[in-house]
Symmetry: C2
Subunit: 360 residues, 2 copies
């Protein structure tokens, strides 16, 4: 289980070096340097049925120093590669916002944050690695709790270990945890929940012990570092990942993005968890448990229509529950189980869901 | 430094018991039970210049079981007192949303979440304690990092200690940390920052060691549990609390709420930190550091006008910087320092601010 983070670091450094070498070689051969990047235009984003993920098609776009229109983007891309290489070498992280401001020292100003964000996506596409691998992290953080011992690889903490069950309010999932090695766990599954309230409930009711679970609070739409962590728990430790959200189109979609990725991130599959399962709250649960519910509003209905056209919702439980939601036109929150007492969701709902998950 | 959490628990249980006894006594004396609560209407919220906080004036409102119009509110209030008493006795926590649903088991349905939230505020006002003291926590969490050893009081963790510098991504500030006892620290100050990105920057640049600081990420407008934690760090450990926000009216206000509280929470002062200091980004910093900045938009200007009429901004640095913002009409983010390199904010800005804070 060791060396995963180090291997990832070497991989991305290697690709940055290749990029640099290509540019140097072009110059030495007397040709204008350029790079080819797979196109992320809507027409080149395809849903791969077999991999159950969004991926990019074969079309590419060129950024050349020979073309005056592309020169600016080409130069910015090389600067970002340089900046990322320095981040990794110095073991520093940065946010997207930092990138936007950092370039100003080089008189390479971006028009706005969108341009700077797009550039980061360009580099992701070119290197085939998520930006977290070159130390650019989002602002948003979510948290984790459970019996998992990790060993840090960040400076000042190398070799130090902690167990993620020692702070009951949870551990932030940031750069240190993302790059830590997994050492040992007694957990047999991962429960990823939409809300902090339920996270705390699960910890208080000792779900980590009773169900041998690692509990992850996605805090709404899971930040990319969190999806990456869920993927690592699934791939490196072989743990099944079960997702619990509110019972509405938005909740379903939080789960779908963890499982199959987003069209926006079709260029990068390293953060998807195709084996993860959405176990609730299903539309059928709302009826079956007579949960307090509210009628769909216009946004809910519109979202439901959109999901109906989404390739991720065309089969299995996704399609089934979408149809049920369309009939029911009502939504329920995870907290609605409190009607049956604060512990009902753990004592009664969760065991049933774990059982049902086996046949998903 | 021990026993703080236990004392708080006893205090609130005592007040709940008193409330119950008053109701029983009324019944035994043959009178309809009622309670008096200090009014939270706008006209009864006053700014206490001496305490530098919003407080409630002397006016009260009555909730009586004798008045048919008040009976529902009176019953709901008693139910919430019962529910809170059970939460504390069972060492469980709940969210505001849980409260809304839990009452449904008693056929005491709230019209909507607003009514249920208002009821929680009624109980806070009546008991004179923040809802966190009767185990009702917000969803939002922020995080903390630094050399502080705490001892938990929550079930399953009683007597266990951790040091809050052992996980470099930070520890969530939830029910367990809020009720933990502070055991030991080498820190000499607290730095509360607006953003997760800066939090990570500070940890990476070892601000906790170089400046002997405990670092708190407020994650925007600080959740109440976080303001409560800042207050405890200030009161129990005697540490100065310095606040760093973006340089705009919104940032200033994040700081003002930590210091002087909000009108909404005028009934409860246990979460304010009157001694905390806002050290930046000031309007004067934007000019002095030639920070990348953007012109105010309409919302910024409107907010600035509102703050100009706010009693919290009528003196000292608050007034001074508000005037400066009015002249400058530009804003800068904390990340803007990245123009001078990622570590400039730590190496150059922070030392200066710590020096300036001494004369605030």
């Amino acid at each position: 289980m060791t060396g995963v983070a180090a291997a990832r670091r070497e991989a991305v450094l290697g690709r940055l070096r290749e990029l640099g070498e290509r540019v140097y070689q072009d110059i030495e051969r007397g040709v204008f340097p350029s790079v080819e990047i797979r196109s992320r235009s809507v027409t080149n984003i395809v849903y791969d049925e077999r991999a159950r993920q969004f991926v990019l098609g074969p079309r590419t776009v060129k950024r050349s120093s020979h073309n005056l229109k592309q020169l600016r983007a080409f130069t910015q891309l090389l600067w970002l590669a340089y900046f990322s290489n320095r981040l990794i070498s110095e073991s520093r992280t940065s946010t997207l916002r930092d990138v936007y401001y950092s370039v100003q020292a080089y008189n390479l100003d971006f028009t706005d944050q969108d341009e700077s964000d797009e550039l980061v996506v360009d580099l992701e596409t070119l290197l085939g690695r998520p930006r977290e691998d070159f130390n650019i992290y989002p602002e948003e953080r979510s948290s984790i709790f459970g019996d998992l011992t990790v060993e840090y690889t960040v400076p000042g903490y190398e070799g130090r270990r902690i167990n993620l069950s020692s702070h009951p309010d949870g551990y932030m999932i940031g750069p240190s945890l993302s790059t830590a090695e997994f050492i040992d766990t007694s957990a047999e599954l991962v429960l990823a929940v939409e809300k902090g309230g339920l996270f705390t409930r699960f910890v208080e009711e000792r779900v980590h012990e009773r169900f041998k679970a690692i509990i992850v609070d996605m805090a709404g739409q899971a930040p990319r570092a969190t999806r990456y962590m869920l993927r690592r728990l699934n791939r490196e430790l072989g743990l099944p990942v079960l997702i619990l959200t509110d019972g509405d189109p938005w909740g379903a979609h939080i789960a779908a993005v963890v499982v199959a990725g987003s069209a926006n991130a079709a260029h990068i599959s390293e953060i998807n968890v195709p084996d993860a399962k959405w176990v609730g709250i299903w539309a059928t649960d709302i009826r079956r448990w007579r949960l307090p519910s509210e009628p769909f509003n216009e946004q809910d209905l519109k979202r439901l229509d959109e999901l109906g056209r989404d390739p991720r919702y065309q089969a299995g439980i996704w399609r089934e529950q979408l149809e049920e939601f369309r009939r029911l036109k009502r939504k329920s929150e995870l907290e609605a189980f409190a009607k049956y007492g604060l512990t009902a969701i753990v004592d009664r709902y969760l065991p049933l869901k774990l059982e049902e998950a086996k046949s998903l």
